[in-house]
Symmetry: C2
Subunit: 438 residues, 2 copies
Amino acid sequence: MEEAAPLTADDLRDTWPMLSPEDRREGFELLGRAEAEEFYLDLDGEDQLEVVRTRPEGQRALWLRLLPPDDIVDVLQAADEAERGWLLALLDDFTREEVGALLAYAEDDAGGLMSTRFVRVRPDMTVDEAIRYLRKQARERVETLSYTYVLDAHQKLLGVVSFRELFAAPGEKRISDVMHTDLVTVPEHMDQEEVGRLFAQFDLVAVPVVDAEGVMKGIVTIDDIVDVVEEEATEDIQKLGGMAALDAPYFQVSLWEMVRARAGWLVVLMVGQMLTATALDHYEADISKAVVLAIFLPLVVSCGGNSGSQASTLVTRALAVGDLRLRDWRRVLGRELSASALLGGLLATVGLLRILLWPDAAGHYGPFYADIGVTVAASVFGVVVWGATMGAMLPLVLHRLGLDPASASAPFVATLSDVTGVLIYFTLANTLLAGTLL
Amino acid sequence: MEEAAPLTADDLRDTWPMLSPEDRREGFELLGRAEAEEFYLDLDGEDQLEVVRTRPEGQRALWLRLLPPDDIVDVLQAADEAERGWLLALLDDFTREEVGALLAYAEDDAGGLMSTRFVRVRPDMTVDEAIRYLRKQARERVETLSYTYVLDAHQKLLGVVSFRELFAAPGEKRISDVMHTDLVTVPEHMDQEEVGRLFAQFDLVAVPVVDAEGVMKGIVTIDDIVDVVEEEATEDIQKLGGMAALDAPYFQVSLWEMVRARAGWLVVLMVGQMLTATALDHYEADISKAVVLAIFLPLVVSCGGNSGSQASTLVTRALAVGDLRLRDWRRVLGRELSASALLGGLLATVGLLRILLWPDAAGHYGPFYADIGVTVAASVFGVVVWGATMGAMLPLVLHRLGLDPASASAPFVATLSDVTGVLIYFTLANTLLAGTLL
């Protein structure tokens, strides 16, 4: 009973991110063979590299070769130049060539995502011949059997047969008679985000990657796309939170990288807020005369920031998932003007009541407290409508300029809205309170 | 040359969201048969319902039956009670029973996601028999052939064989000898978000859904999970932007629903900002004495809000994708304290320099401008550290309380940070400027 339960792959997976390199090596060596393989295959490229690196020299090739070529590429991409040499030397010639071809692609290209191990047949085979041939290919490592690609002698892609169709077709039919020729394909250098959108739009399970000559290079399968969708959403969320996107999970980013990803925007936003200080400077005389204006200032301007955050978040996400496009901007503008007018009206009422109904309002805010209430209410209405309009249009403008719409983050929109909110507030105050407080 | 090009499915897909019901019906009828089917199959449940509803009575059954049972369930879920009756009457008995069973599940359960059309074999079949049997099943509509599930006579799940393994195995072997018995399964009522995490953790392509007795009910395939991942990310993004999640794409939500989703948080945040006004009220005398404090107030407090937005966004997303867990809170706290101390130091320096190096600073801010600079710098440091700490801990606290961590939105954290920022700023001002300005 005193003996500790044996370590399982699950235990190690749970604690892995928190372990020191030394503890990771020891933990890994405590796993049984099958557990170790299962655990290793589930790791990402960087951690797989660490495992390979810490194996005894004679075992390294074995571990690296456990991975399919596209995963080996991830391991190599995590390694520095110096390490790549000995890692490549661990591979057999055929795999090394495949990996070399894949390495030439950018990590977030269709080419960088694809697997070269797809199943292929010739158009003049019969269905029965193709099934026998596939049965042979299935013994090697292939990415998926769901689709069989029909290639000519020059590896040009002619068509595709789903496995189900092949299976259901009469055995003596020719492949060329059962294949589909109206294919969705993607070019090698298509950005992974766009590949993800194609999968969603056409409900794809796998898509062939072809070069400019129509030669088939590989396939991207939907399981890679799940990671892409999650990764792209994480990047957008981080950008919308007002920082640069991190390229690794929270605990795997060094403190220095974390600070760097956050510092840039914080400084930009602070400089933006200096414009608010400058604008306020301009109204210093007004504030001296009516300190009460300063008291309601944060309340007023933050309503604009909040309404702007909502609008920019909505529009940025709708753009990312393809729910709206640049040319829809008029409809977005109309929609945001209507929504924000209603929201602005609601908040203005809340603000007005807050001041009018405050216990001993006159004693507290002076004899002109009702005028102050009207000024605050009118300003709230103005900043809410303005914030939503700006928040909704900014991602579209950024997109139009070829920039990332997600840069229209909540803090950025809030900052822009603070500066303009000050102008709206004091302009209205100078109009509505002229002759009374100002 | 004058004749308009025929309408394609792509054209209609592009304009669909903007069309009136009447134009949708007309556009759909302009499509050729094959185009119409392709277009229809790509629609979501609500739009498919609209198509079925607007077909002539004799054609409705045909269109509804084009869909697999799980998609029919989506159509029924989009319909109101009154319509469900005639829709169900369009189905054949067998499908109606399948659909009825699926309808009993919540939309975002594993049961609501799954398909009942999986391929099954018996354990005592040989590999060759199983392949022949599958070839027959493949002619019917099955969700995927990638995995073959091995069930006993009571439909209990015994094991699984991947199609590739089945294909590569010697023909005379028994299924029970080639099947895997260490299965990942999910219970019928597991939340879809959790199902999504399992797919990511185990790199799954399909997962069987079983009831409490181990009876297999269906499979969830990875193509459904892509939608889940995207949907859940969209919900989180909208919540992080400071609003309730919408349950449909931007243009498909009515103006009224849009306003309702946004109004709640806007009012809550505004009431929160009233605390800021109340706090400022308390320092009215200080502001009267030193209006310059009011001028730098938005600059100081917004630094805290921005740093808090970053931290809450990071932690909320890391929780959602499983990069960190509740029990990691100490490490998160340590990490955020270090990062924010560095960031706070940086911003404090920027703030100090902004005041010290301002042209004619003494003329502008008075003889104690250096003291003001130090007050601003110290406050910026304080609010940045406090904002990040609160922003990072709040999602964890919400999660601990069983609430949604994404409610710790950028605007919410900014509001909390504004209130506390005012206290930090004026407390420091009263200490550092006592005897000079205050």
